[in-house]
Each structure stands twice: as structure tokens, then as C-alpha cells.
């Protein structure tokens, strides 16, 4: 779901120039935290410059109480609901940095660079979902593909496919197929030496 207005995904827990992890309350988790969604966050000490990243993992961690409740024979539904929504362990959202850009007068991050940001974001900075316009402008070029493809410890093929399907929603309906074809052609050049991988990614992004 591509955002049409500023929506907070979470706050920074840990960050580096390669990526960051933000956390949010479990009851906040919804379509904003989709795998492959485009998010943005200002880098340290520069409100105008924002990192743009892709959500590649959403992790709900356990704790002692959850472990015990999992093994209990019968649990009051109110307790389960309370544990889901009011637990003190945040849902962790892992983001891979794929570029950065500067805010325009309207606050939209444009003029994006498809490379890693100069600095990471600071802790507890709000992470926002990118707007349709930001996703559209960022995906006019395809250079961030290589960052995703080469990322380690990331399900890169699935992430790229999910990101492209997500980004295609930012395009008018009659341009989505064309967008996917262009992305496929770019991938075909990038993965020319690995045809099996190319074939797999194309199968993932192939429009229905």
C-alpha cells in the first residue's frame, strides 16, 4: 500500500549507513510495514536529507511471558489480546538503504541518489512511509537494483520483486505493465551472467 500522506512506520532502534532497524508497537503493524515498502528517514543532523530504504524484514520477537503463554493449556482471550497489543517488546522492522534524497519545498524527498547515504539516521527518529510521488520519482531510474541484488543477509530476489510490485502501484494503471517490462529489461542486463536467477526474479515480477 503506497501512502498518499505522511505515515509513521516506527522509530529508529539501530542504524548504519547500510540500513537500519526501527521499532513500533505491535498494535501499529499494518500495511505500512509491508515487505518491500519504500520508507524514508532523515539522516543524522540534517533534516533535509533523507535515507530511502526498503523494508526487508518485520520481526516480532518473543519474551519470557510469551514463551510461557505459548505452552499454557488454556489462556483467557483477553490475556492473549493484551499480550499482542500491549507488550513491551517492539516489533522490529529491518530496512535496507537503497538511496537518499533531499526534501523539496513541500517536504517530498526528491532528487534521489541511488547510493548509500552519507550518514545514518539518529536513534528514535521517525521513519515515514514514502509517498506515491516519492516512490514514482525514485523509481524513474533503476540503479538501486544493484544495491538490492548485492545485499548480503537479505532475501534480495524476493525483496527486489516485492519492491517493484509495490512501486508499480505508484504508476497509473496503464503504465504499470510498461514499468515492469523496463525493470525486467534492466534486470536482464544486470543478471546476464546468472540466467537462473534472472528467470526466478522475472517470474516473481511478471504481471498476472
Amino acid at each position: 500500500m503506497v501512502s498518499t500522506q505522511q505515515e509513521i512506520v516506527g522509530r529508529i532502534l539501530r542504524a548504519s549507513t547500510k540500513g537500519f532497524t526501527c521499532g513500533t508497537s505491535s498494535r501499529q503493524v499494518d500495511t505500512r510495514h509491508d515487505f518491500g515498502a519504500f520508507v524514508k528517514v532523515p539522516i543524522a543532523n540534517d533534516g533535509d536529507c533523507c535515507v530511502i530504504g526498503l523494508i526487508y524484514a518485520v520481526e516480532i520477537k518473543d519474551d519470557q511471558l510469551v514463551n510461557e503463554l505459548v505452552m499454557a493449556d488454556s489462556v483467557n482471550p483477553n490475556v492473549l489480546l493484551d499480550q499482542r497489543e500491549n507488550r513491551m517488546v517492539p516489533v522490529e522492522i529491518d530496512v535496507l538503504n537503497v538511496g537518499y534524497g533531499y526534501r523539496d519545498a513541500n517536504g517530498a524527498v526528491i532528487n534521489g541518489f541511488h547510493s548509500l547515504p552519507p550518514r545514518p539516521p539518529m536513534s528514535l527518529t521517525d521513519v515515514e512511509l514514502c509517498s506515491i510521488y516519492e516512490v514514482f520519482t525514485f523509481t524513474q531510474r533503476y540503479d538501486f537494483f544493484r544495491t538490492v541484488i548485492n545485499a548480503s543477509d537479505v532475501p534480495s530476489d524476493d525483496l527486489l520483486a516485492a519492491a517493484l510490485r509495490y512501486a508499480s502501484q505508484a504508476y497509473p494503471e496503464n503504465q504499470r505493465y510498461e514499468f515492469m517490462v523496463h525493470c525486467g529489461q534492466h534486470l536482464a542486463r544486470m543478471l546476464a551472467n546468472d540466467l537462473k536467477r534472472l528467470s526466478h526474479v522475472l517470474a516473481l515480477i511478471r504481471p498476472a
Partner: protein, 564 residues
Amino acid sequence: MQYPDDSENLDQWFPRDASAYMQAVLPIPRLGVVVGGSLSKGLVVKLDRGQSVEDLAVGRYVVVHGTNKRFFCMINDISLNNTNPAIQSDPPDISDPFLSAVYTGTAAYGTIHVAPMLSIGDDDKPKPVKTIPSHFMEVMNANVEDVNDVFGHEDESHFNVGTPLELDETQINIDLKRLVERSVGVFGKSGTGKSFLTRVLLAGVIAKNQGVNLIFDMHNDYGWEITSENGSSVKGLKQLFSSKVTILTLDVESSRRRNAKFDSEVKIGLDEIEPEDIAQLRVTMSLSDAMIDAAHTLHKRWGDSWIRRLLKGNVDDIEEVAENTPIMSGTLLALQRRLERFERWDFLVAETPEDSVERIVNLLVEQQQSVVLEFGRYGNSLEAYILVANYLTRRIHERYIDKVERALGDKAMEPPQLLITIEEAHKFLDPQIARATIFGIIAREMRKYNVTLLIVDQRPSGIDEEVMSQIGTRVTALLDNERDINAVLNGISGAAGLREVLSRLDTKQQAIIMGHAVPMPVVVKTRAYDEQFYASLINANGTGINIDKARKTLGSGGGERRIR
């Protein structure tokens, strides 16, 4: 796109010449970019994604837009490539339109090989190519402007012979002045339209007054109307240029049977035939060296009537020669048997009232008429064709040498450029006899005496290599024999690329022209020889005044000396 500024001017919005307008406003589609190559081997161009390989063809022109120059190139090969050879063993499912769109032009792509022929700089003048464009320069289809920059416009000496491949809006204009000043070869396997091609060239030479022609018309193709392969009648040169062409015939009966008009009959006296004329028949009549020597001896002993006396076969005569010369009687009898064929040719008579050679020279030089000599049924006899062609050409050539030498220093007195057309040329220019025949001599001496050859042949490999090397312009329809292709391309730069083009020409109405009359080898879809062609000749022919003729008429005797 620029929109017209005057809303009242409909011509601006809807131009009368719509094709020129479209040409001007529509961008030329890019084919691809240069990715490699060399000057000697040609350039490799990677095709753009949207460019279909099937839309390209060898022989087509493309232009590489370099940094400072345009490079005019010809496609000579097309190939399919891929970024990973593994794709050949596991090709993608192209029935899926998405996969088809993704793979085509990326992992699998087309390349073309183009041969740079000319470069065009800021001065818009084509020059021989001596360098190549740098990497990644854009390659476009040649447009009308590019072709016109290279081949010029039709004018007094340039004649439209057809259109480049896939570019019907423009035309290829060959330089007739350069065409006639060196010998020309028209080659192609049987049925590829050599005669039509030759007729177009001859019509151009006559229409533009670039010379006179002497055509030894073996199959009666050039003078009067003939029926084409599709059954329609096409006009002969006499019908197109009645005042500039004279038809002579060796076979009056055939002309009447065909209902073909002719101006007069040609007879050759047996007394006029010399041993040198017989020597040209060495291969076709299986004459040995001893027989040729015998002919010379008989000519020396018996004078001009030597053939008549030999054919009479008087035993005393034969014995007298055998006894008093080293010639064996068997040799004489063998020569006699071979020359008996002459008795079956009605155009050979004991004596002739007028000199045929003098008449033809008069037509060519004084009246500046082209002469078509029809052979009628004798065209089927190669011996008759070779004998007559050699007999006449030797003597006309001698007269030309005489006239040219007399005219030294006075250009106005020079005879007009003469183009002699012969068919089955390999029979005249076989390596064994080419050095001795008059045609071999003419081909080698080039423009020295204002006489050149237009040779029409389907086996260029049978022509002497030295003669082939002297042919200035080669017009070649489809050839598929490797030796013939080699013979035609021998000595042409960039021949390797042209080989592919040559072997893939259409069987009809396509030819490659290379050499002296064109700035670069060019594949043309030749003009149709039809009503439209006839009409264009009338336009080209109708108003021009032949300055040379006017000058000569004023300078010579005759009834037209006075200015009226």
C-alpha cells in the same frame, strides 16, 4: 515538434508535398550504436531494443553520426547475439509477452555489421573513408538527404537508375560521363534482367548525350520492341530515340517476321575478311595454330579472294599450295571444312556494293547516332556473332584511332565517345584469346581512343583477369557461383562484405553498382522499364541541344553548315 505560426495559411498546416513534410518533422529512428569494429573489417553496431532484426536487410544504407562527420555505410551482415551463451541451451519462453519484451534486445540482441564507404564532413562533400567513428556513436537509417548528399541530383550527366533498398523516396543517380569513359560490365546469372539493366543504361547514355553506342544485339533485345518475360511489350531504343538510333540488321527475314523495323541491311564481303578475323574464331571453331598459319599463307598467295578460292575447293589450287608451302594438304582441307559454315550465312556475300564499316562509322561519328546491329537468326550462331563483332570492331577501332590522332590538340574534332556493347563477353575475352582480340585491346587501353566496352555476361569468371581489372564500372545482378562472385569482386575494396550482399540480391530488378560511375558500391532496385520510364526519357531528351554535334556540324561539310 514545431507548429506553423500562421493559422490562416493552410499550406503551412497541410503541405502539398506531404512526404517531404513528414520527412522533415518526424525524427529518424535510431537503429543502434557502434560497439566495435575496424576500418578494414567494418563496424559492429548493437541494435536498440525496439529495432527488429527482420526489418533490416543487407545492402541497405545506414549513417553513423560521428562527432564531426557522418559516415555513410552499407549493411553487409546481420547477426544474433546474446550476453550469455547458456541462453542457447535453455531459451526463455517467448510465448509469454512479458518475457519476450524483457529478453529481446537485452540478454538476446541483434547486431549488424556495416562497412563504412564514405564520410561526409561539414562541407557536405562525400570523401573516401579513412577513419571510423568512435564508440557508441548513433547509427540511423539513411534518409533522403543523406542519399542525395552522396549520389547527387539528376542533371546533364547524372542519370537515375533506381532507388536504394528500402528508400523508395529517393534515387540513385549514376555519373554517365564517368560510366562511359571506362569499360562497363553488366553481370548476372541467366534470367536476372541483364538485358533490361543494359537497356536502362544505354537509354541513359543516349538520352543524356554522353556518347554513341554500337550494340551487337545478339538476341534482338535492344533495337525494336520485344516481349518481356511477363508477356508485355517493351519498347526498343529506336522507339524511344527515333532520331538518335539506327537499326541495322544482318537478317532481313527475321526482322520482317518479327515485324521489327530496321533502317538498312548489313552485308559483309568474303573478300574483306582477313586471317586476323578468322583467328578470333580459334576457340569457337576449333581452329588449330596450323590452320591460322594456313589462312595467312593463303591470303598472301591468293589475295583478298582467298576464302572464296578455298571454299570452291579446286583440287589444283590445294595441291599447288601444299607443294609450294610448308602447309599440309590435310590442314588446308580441315580449314576448308570449317569455313564452309560461312556459306550458310547469307550476310556474307562475295562482294558488297558499299563498305559496311564506313557506313557505321559515318553514323556514329558524323551523324552521332547510336547503332543497333541485330543478328536475327544468326544470333544463335556464336561463330557468326564473334566473327561479325570482331570484324566490325577491329575496323571501327582503327578508324577511331585515326580520327583521335588527327584531332590531337583540337577537342572539337574528336569523335564522340563510343560504347560498344557485346553479349556473351566471356567468349571474346577468354584468358586464352583476350590478349589477341580487339575487345581485350579496347578494354586495356581504356579511354585513350574514346572507345570503351559495355560487356554483358553471365559468367564473369570466364573473362580474362586483366580485362576484368580494367572494367571501370560493374553492374551486377544476382550471381550465385562462387567463382563468378570472386571475379566480379576482385579488386573492389571491402569485397568481403559485398559478397554477402551480392549473393542475396533478389532475382529480379536488383543490382549492385560499383566502381567508377558511383562514389560507393550501391544496391539498387532498378527502375522499371515501363511507360513512366519512357516519359522521363522524353523529358530528359526533349529540349537539350547537343553542343558537340552543333559544333561539329558547323565545322564539317554537308548541308547543315549554314546557320538558319
